[in-house]
């Protein structure tokens, strides 16, 4: 049986999807990829790219 996604509606009426822990490192990584992709899909470009740029810009400069 497929696990259901854990979802919460916040006080700001935003949908929050929770990250499912993986049973091993590989599964954990893939779960995070799916989780983050859903975040990117459901939030404004300015929102997710600001978070992503913290990672990218810190590694480059």
């Amino acid at each position: 049986m497929k696990d259901k996604k854990k979802i919460k509606i916040t006080d700001n009426k935003e949908i929050r999807i929770f990250l499912k822990p993986g049973r091993n490192n590989k599964e954990e990584r893939l779960n995070f990829v799916r989780y983050w992709a859903q975040y990117v899909k459901n939030h404004k470009d300015e929102d997710w790219s600001g978070q992503q740029n913290l990672l990218i810009d810190s590694q480059v400069q």
Partner: protein, 185 residues
């Protein structure tokens, strides 16, 4: 993220250092040669949570004379070649099917790995490329289905599988699954 049509996507993302560098580089490149960005930068452009030390680009085959003009423009634009200084030597690498790398002068990363397409499937990337419109300009990338197929069925490292998964998850509804299956074959 707006899918304007089959050939165009608009991204309202905040530009990272790498995005600005890519826009700068391709603004020079496109004046002299057709290009397509391939590989990991594409998934990063669409939000994948990782960085990269290089951006891979196919350029259409050109003669040494045109390449010299491109080289001069890149040099003038603040880029140097990591492989050699003499344009003839650099062009010979390309001719021999090897990749050459350009970076901002006095730096090595991030860098742009440039190569001529070698196989028919490489040539095909020009045919179904798409334009990504950013606030700072336009870049041309490989089709997303092709990108997924290449990472999932050819490269197949853990990192590549994750890159493919990210694009699939972002764009589930918009992918043409039949095209993906055909590319796998």
């Amino acid at each position: 993220m707006e899918f304007i049509n089959k050939k165009e996507i608009k991204l309202n993302r905040k530009l990272s250092y790498i995005d600005k560098l890519v826009l700068n580089f391709v603004s020079i490149l496109e004046k002299y040669v057709d290009y397509v960005i391939i590989s990991g930068y594409i998934s990063i452009l669409f939000g994948r949570a990782r960085a990269t030390e290089d951006i891979d680009i196919f350029i259409k085959k050109i003669e040494e004379k045109e390449f010299s003009k491109l080289y001069e423009a890149l040099d003038h634009g603040g880029f140097w070649c990591l492989n050699a200084e003499k344009v003839e030597e650099i062009f010979n690498y390309l001719q021999d099917g090897l990749a050459i790398r350009f970076a901002r002068k006095k730096t090595s990363i991030p860098n742009f790995e440039i190569k001529f397409p070698k196989r028919a499937i490489d040539e095909e990337t020009f045919g179904d490329s798409i334009n990504v419109i950013l606030s700072g300009g336009r870049i041309i990338i490989s089709s997303l289905e092709r990108q997924i197929a290449f990472k999932r069925y050819f490269l197949k490292s853990d990192k590549d599988i994750e890159d493919a998964l990210h694009i699939e998850e972002i764009l589930k509804i918009n992918l043409i699954m039949i095209k993906l299956i055909n590319l796998r074959k």
